[in-house]
Amino acid sequence: MEVNIYKQNKEVVAELVGRMDTPATQEFAPQLEALTKDAAGTIVLDCKNLTYISSSGLRIFLTLRKAAAEKGGRVVVRSIRDEIRSVFMMTGFLNLFDIE
């Protein structure tokens, strides 16, 4: 898995690439959880190339979402693939995130 974090038009974008399974999530958790400091603004999770996500990945999503809610920011899930969408659906995440 790869994670690219950059700023674009005042948004913090995290581009998630590949399989976000449990060991991968463990590896990138510090980087991703650090995004909570930008939670007052808009955090974009770019999932265009995210092919797989397990519950540990979903936990990171939820952590960010809760931080944004606390600080008045928002979390946008962008370009979600069908496989991931179905996982979101099964877990009720579609209702929790702004999906673009």
Binding site: D21, T22, Q26, Y52, A69, M90, T91, G92
Partner: protein
Amino acid sequence: MKTKVSNIKNVLRRSTGAGLLLIIVAALTLEATSLLQNYFSRKGLMEEAQLRAENLLETTRLQILDATHQAESAVRNSIWIAGWCLDYPDSLPVVVRRIVEDNPTVMGSTLALIPNYSRRLPWYSPYFCREGDSLVMKSLATAEYDYPSQEWFTKPLEQDSGVWSEPYIDTGGGEVLMTTYSVPIKDSKGRPAAVLTADISLNWLSMLASSELVYPNSFQVIATPGGQLLVLSTGYVKLTTVDELDSRMDDTANFDRLITAMRAGRSGNIPIRRNGENNQVFFAPVEELGWAMSIVIPDDEIYGDIRRVRWLERFFQLLGLGMLVLILRGLAKNQLRYQKVNEKKELMESELKIGRNIQMSMIPNIFPPFPERKDIDIAACLIPAKEVGGDLYDFYIRDEKLFFCIGDVSGKGVPASLVMAVTRSLFRTVSAHENSPQRIVMTMNDSMSDMNESNMFVTFFCGILNLATGHLRYCNAGHNPPLILSDRAVELDVKPNLPLGVMPKMSYQEQETDLDFGDTVFLYTDGLNEAENSAHEQFTLERAKAMLDQRRNAQDHLEEVRKAVNKFVGNAPQSDDLTMLLIHYMNDTSPMRSERHLILHNDIQQIPQLADFVETIAGEKNLDQSMAMSINLALEEAVTNVIEYAYPEGADGLVDIEAILREKTLDFIITDSGKPFDPTARPEVDTSASLNDRPIGGLGIHLVKRIMDSVSYRREDGKNILTMIKNI
């Protein structure tokens, strides 16, 4: 049920009605017979009474005539001498004395001169009578007695012939009933000069009455021309009058008729009512004297016997009727009981039928049982000797293992069937958590021995066939060794062990063997080898063995044996339950089935291996990417759970992932030896909850449940086993 009750009532009513009618008819018949008999008996008794009365009357008449005749003779014979003696009055007493002396029936006698016939003896009447054994002479020529005015004196003179006086009571010489015969005596010139008499006692008449003891309360009445009545009863004679008797009659009309008839000199019989009792009066005249005699007999005495007989008869009639009632009641009861027994029997039969259906539905009875499987073919049959039986078999597949058993409860019928049901339930319950036949058998034995108060036991054989490998583990409990049909039929090497239920805490030995593709396990109960024909020959295992080969499918195979047994037994009744279970193990040549196996250490870094594992399976089963990803996700979540929770931190452990690929399903069995942990027991995640209410964790097992079609956990042999099945 309602109709049954009304049926019983109907029967009761019908039989009671018929019984009542029968009793009434019987009673009427008996009464009619009795009345008829009574009528003829009465007639007979009446005739007898009449005969007796006539005899008595005749006897009395003859006696009276005899007595009067003697007296008359005595007097007449002395007429001449008396006439002659008139001229010598002093000799007259001698004549009188001779009359009394010579005639024992004569009580007394006198010769009374007409007053003033003799100048010397103007009043003269010497009288001799008996007093005891001696003769006493008295003179009746007293002013007191005034013999010339006495009837016995005047009447013969008036009539100029012998005359009998009316009976009278003589008080002179004791209370004696007398009658007197008097004749006029004429002198030589033909002038009336005197009256010669002879008294006779009538007391002996009472002796006649008393001699007739057939009717002890009967009495005789003699009516004299003077209107007097002589009542003669046992031991006494009484003088009375018609008027006096009349006042005692309840029914004067008949009494008047009687008196009239008697006075007219007729004979016959007339009933009279007296003192509240009916009497028969038989009467006849004594023409010579102008008397009429009668005898009065109370009806009670005439019909006394018949009355007694009639009471006796009534008593026996009632007794007979009572017995008839008892017999009828007994019959009705019997019929009712019979009907009840019949109904009970029908009820029991229908219940047995239901019992049989229940029993049959307890055991697998749809064949082939696993039509989708190419590796196993099973056929079985259970034919109870009675409605229900004590044999059982069972089988099912769990985790790619065939659990099967066969058993034979000691005894037959309902008790055996109950034990059979218990045994089958125990097998299901115990084998759901045990993978060792030995442990299944021992657990079953313990619980059956504990509750075995009726001392019934079960021979039992339990086997677990690993369908993937053909490895067969089995444990026997006193049952016939099954046959393994390979090239030929051979008995499986089996330790006998004790049957189930004999003794708790027994140890049972487990054994094992390997089946090759194409092998068949044939299990049976002794209803097969011991099936008897009418000549009491047994079917024997040898015959069974000879029939068993492995060229057919299981159903046909079993059917063939069954037909052979039926043919052998013929018309003989089935002596024991017959049960057979035939398991044919085959190579699953179908390309649809395969297995994959992956073993991981409890290291999270090994998780990516699952992706390759799933990719292989997806490739093999041509699954789309979305399905593959879902399965991957479920597996990852399940395995992650094990890695994170099963083993203590730092300890090394393994996670075994077995995948069975079938035509329409994928089975995943994840096994670890960690601490007991049931992931399915975690609370459900509420996916519709608001953000604030959403916990961070718990999504993993939620995903597993959402992705898989069936998820089940069990703890076995110190292992956590999570089985997940995905329909594809």
